[in-house]
Symmetry: C2
Subunit: 654 residues, 2 copies
């Protein structure tokens, strides 16, 4: 199979076959039939190209056994490899970056754990263990690991569909760990089975829409804390939330809370603006959240605003992550639910982490092995689920800060992890008087960045069907729920792929003036049709899903052309040339369709001619005896060659 596997392609010298010396001689160039390939070589090269296209064992070739073992261990723990070249200068960068993302992380974690309906300490736990594991196993140098807004919201929504977090907090938490465990298993499995390419099926457009919708949903949820509302809907769609807000407008809003929240939101947004304008001041928006937390906590502490209805964090458990292996459901009804939720959350987390990894690797020009990365993320979540963490992944905003703060390696994650350790051990009581409103403001200012308006505009400009997927996901999330939005995004993406293989394009070709080139007359209106000949290009592989359509479409082109000729009183069509260049493959249904087409054409006295069938098509056309039905002499290398034979007079008019 062409292009699959590492074929040798020595080019031979030019004159191995005696060919007519002139292009315009009567004998056209023969279309190559590739040598018959053994089934197993063909099969194994397909498998190799599908699953091992990056040739992951390349470096293991021709190595001694002990060397192979060392390489194997290094492949699982890349830190052993790059750690050898680690030095003080790199550490300086990592230290600053690590401290910066830690300061950003603490308030975000406390807020995000609320999105997941968990107590604040679980957010902090999830920024302690997973980054450590990732630092050992991951290959991205810039990613910042921890809980993220979208995954927290998704997990919270899916979990509370199963268990009420307020009445059954223990079962809820246990299911959360179960889901985290299976999210990790899902991620690691995809990596080990080298199925990483599956996440490519979430299209860029769908992700943009989904993220934007999730950001708006999360921001709306924050209005509870922002406005100090006590009775708030558990639904996440915009209509329920708006109803909740306005029905409590007179008696439910707490004005001191709103003042604090609004003041700090303005502060955070200004800090963000400064960071955007001057890249050097990236640390301003990075430390602004922690500064807000400190200032507002101090303010509440001295004014005792909590007595005026300003809700505060109250209590965060002190001490590092307790073990939670025994809390995971390995049997019973909740096992299956945990698997299902973990699968969805794990894949979404993966999509985000892989996108971040690729983006920053591209900027610093190093390679990321997607499958290996998935194993690292999976291992980190499995370890997390056993140490009271919920699903962690790479955070877009914190990774960007990490990058700008000059991180050099994953050591910055270890630095952040150490800060988390100290926070959990010593500083949690300090957050007692932190107003919830501040956390809401911090989350709102963080998720605003997920709404990628420019990307949506660009998608509209480039591809309308992508835009539909994007908007479908967006409105699905905003007006229904994250799950519905996700479902819409995936469905539209798939529908588009299937549409492409069901209704492929076809085009009528004409000759471009003063050349021997035949092109789509829609794109080149100056191209002229060849009298008595219809040239149709089929723009897709011919498979069972489209073979009937293609057959009928070609016959329809012929009918339309014939009608035009009849009205114009021109000679009738004698040849139908199918330009096969884009037809990269054909299956049994496709061969049947061509046979039927041939029969229909024979009834109409039109001859079927093929131009430039590829190696796979030639192989199958011969295997099925279709070649002899059409006639070997009616298969040409180019459309020009075919015209040379069908309409020699016209071909000379170059």
């Amino acid at each position: 199979m062409e292009g699959r596997g590492e074929e040798r392609f020595e080019t031979k010298e030019m004159d191995i076959r005696s060919m007519p010396s002139s292009r315009h001689a009567s004998l056209p160039y023969r279309v190559g039939v590739p040598p018959k390939q053994n089934f197993w070589t063909e099969f194994s090269s397909t498998v190799k190209e599908t699953f091992f296209s990056d040739d992951p064992l390349h470096s293991f070739k021709d190595q001694s056994r002990s060397r192979k073992f060392v390489l194997g261990v290094q492949a699982v723990f890349p830190i052993l490899e790059w750690g050898k070249r680690y030095n003080l200068k790199k550490f300086k960068g990592d230290l600053i970056a690590g401290l910066t993302i830690a300061s950003l992380c603490i308030p975000q974690d406390i807020g995000y754990s609320k999105l997941a309906n968990l107590s604040p300490q679980y957010g902090l736990y999830s920024s302690f263990v997973p980054p450590l594991v990732y630092a050992l196993m991951g290959s991205s140098r810039d990613i910042a690991i921890g809980p993220v807004a979208v995954v927290s919201l998704l997990l919270g929504t899916l979990l509370q569909n199963e268990i009420d977090p307020i009445n059954h907090p223990l079962e809820y938490r246990r299911l959360a760990f179960t889901a985290t465990f299976f999210a990790g298993i899902t991620q690691a499995t995809l990596g080990i089975l080298r199925l990483g390419f599956l996440i490519d099926f979430l299209s860029h457009a769908a992700v943009v829409g989904f993220m934007g919708g999730a950001a708006i949903t999360i921001a709306l949820q924050q209005l509870k804390g922002f406005l100090g509302i006590k009775n708030f809907t558990k639904k996440t769609d915009i209509i329920s939330v708006m109803h909740s807000i306005f029905s409590s407008a007179y008696h439910g809003w707490n004005w001191p809370t709103i003042v604090i929240a609004a003041a700090f939101l303005v502060f955070l947004l200004v800090a963000k603006y400064i960071g955007k304008k001057k890249k050097k001041l990236f640390w301003v928006p990075a430390i602004a959240p922690l500064v807000s937390v400190v200032l507002s906590t101090f303010f509440v502490y001295i004014t005792h605003a909590e007595k005026k209805g300003v809700q505060i964090v109250k209590h965060i458990e002190k001490g590092i992550n307790p073990a939670s292996v025994r809390e995971i459901y390995f049997t019973g009804d909740y096992l299956l639910k945990g698997v299902r939720i973990g699968l969805v959350a794990g894949i979404i987390a993966l999509t985000e982490a892989v996108a971040i990894g690729r983006t920053f690797a591209g900027m610093k020009d190093y390679q990321i092995d997607g499958n290996k990365e998935m194993v690292a993320l999976g291992a980190m979540n499995i370890a997390g689920s056993m140490t009271s963490c919920y699903v962690a992944t790479g955070s877009f905003s914190r990774s960007a800060v990490n990058y700008m703060a000059g991180c050099q390696t994953a050591i910055s994650n270890i630095v952040m992890s150490v800060v988390m350790f100290l926070t959990l051990q010593f500083f949690t009581p300090l957050f007692e008087y932190t107003p919830n409103a501040i956390l809401s403001s911090i989350i709102i200012s963080a998720v605003i960045g997920l709404i990628d308006y420019d990307a949506a505009v660009l998608i509209w400009k480039i591809d309308k069907s992508d835009f539909i997927a994007c908007m479908g996901a967006f409105f699905g999330v905003v007006f229904a729920s994250v799950e519905i939005g996700l479902l819409i995004a995936v469905s539209i993406s798939f529908a588009k792929l299937l549409l492409q293989v069901t209704r492929p394009r076809t085009a009528i070709l004409g000759k471009i003036p003063r050349t021997n080139v035949y092109r789509n007359i829609q794109q080149y209106p100056e191209a002229s049709k060849v009298p008595g000949v219809v040239i149709v290009r089929v723009d897709s592989a011919i498979y069972f899903s489209n073979s009937n359509y293609i057959k009928e479409r070609i016959l329809r082109w012929l009918t339309t052309e014939e009608e035009q000729l009849t009205t114009a009183g021109l000679p009738k069509i004698q040849f139908l040339i199918i330009e096969m260049s884009p037809v990269t493959d054909i299956d049994t249904s496709g061969i049947h369709a061509l046979e039927e087409l041939l029969r229909s054409l024979q009834k109409r006295d039109v001859e079927l001619v093929l131009a430039n069938p590829g190696p796979v098509v030639m192989d199958k056309v011969h295997a099925s005896k279709l070649a002899s039905l059409i006639g070997e002499e009616k298969i040409f290398l180019t459309v020009a060659d075919a015209i040379q034979t069908c309409s020699p007079k016209f071909a000379e008019e170059v």
Copy 2:
């Protein structure tokens, strides 16, 4: 969008633009950018091509209102249209054909209703009402309507998963009618929404495998009647059945039954062989089943073999179809189950009927409108579900007999229906002494024809992945169950389509000696590479599902080429030409991938050149400003033009 919708494509005269007069002049031909299209025109033409590609309202154009009404009624009831041209000569053909298929139908119906775990009369009912409805609404002239083996088996398996047919016969029957009703609804809905193309997603190969597997499963099930076994497994997989047979070998087999069954099976197979050898004797295998029934019934009646353990039909309810509208579950738990089973059975029934319709229409050269046909089949099953029928569809074997017996129109179905009416009214008591073994023999000899060995061999020769789908479906049905087999067939078919859009082929091109044509060097080993240039052809639209892969694959081609050059000490690569002819579309992810590719190439000091991008690609490349990043002057009409600029010396060596 090219090729979609009914565009006018007047070709203009040749010299509207002043172009360099020689092909080898320095200024290459400009690549056409199609005129910007309005979003709604584009959208509506896509919708039209997807759902109304056959332009179903063509004949309604420019007609008066009353004429439109008449045409509308005729569209729903084609009999009003062709009925006007009906004459005695045609009736003669239909009468003979109708009587022949009726004689074949009666014993088959009784047997097939057992596959569906229903009493014998329900099979006969299903050959009375549905054919009448089809004759009014259908457009195939050759199809023979009634119960068929595969759908009966499928329905029986799915239904008995929900309700035990022996202990709860009433509920079972009610669920059967419910499923039939929703099978009809599914079929009619697909037709009305013009989603008929969805059934094309069951590939030919998968259907061949599924049918073969179902035939073997059905034949194995018949061994119960054939061997006279009383305690038989309810499972359908080959291992359970074989175990059932051999565990009852000593005491469970009934030798008189086996003698009768074997004798008539030989008779039926000989009749079949005769019909195959001499096409004129088609009536021999057609009436052989009824003759067997009559002979064996008479034999049992006079010998009283039923007292020696030969099982007989015993009782068939007399009289035509009772109404069953009230038996359909429109509420409750069984509603949803009925919908699900109906959906599956309806689609499989549709696949069979549409395949038959297309095959015979092709042979007699008339057109079948797939969507209209689905509405007819749906209406017939809805009507059937209200008159005690289960899912009916077109039968392959009876349609072939119908065709060979010289049927002219759907009137042959009406004739068959009338015979059924008479049978139900008067002749059912005659079947009292019919041995079950005969029915088993008749079914075995009927389903053998569904095993299409030649088709499987051809599939193996043409396409190995199709063969895997075929065998997957086959073994799934034989070793697991019809549902599993179906699931495997659909999954493999889809996986293949998705693989195509995930791992498209790419090829390195070289110049074919003494031409200006560049082709895959795998297919044309004599083609020579251009020094300092790598020409890669991408064989698929670039979408989110493959954009990353394509980018990485192209870079890998470049790396491989560069390694070869370095070892050979040749000059380094300066240009990478992407031949875009097969790239029919690109989405936002694809544009991003090309941008990333461009950046990677710039770092390697290699220039990116595009050859022959199509109209859609050109449109999007311009919309995204990628055109200006690459440089308009680096987009060429042909690879030859590009080489002309990149490596002028080489290009002259024609």
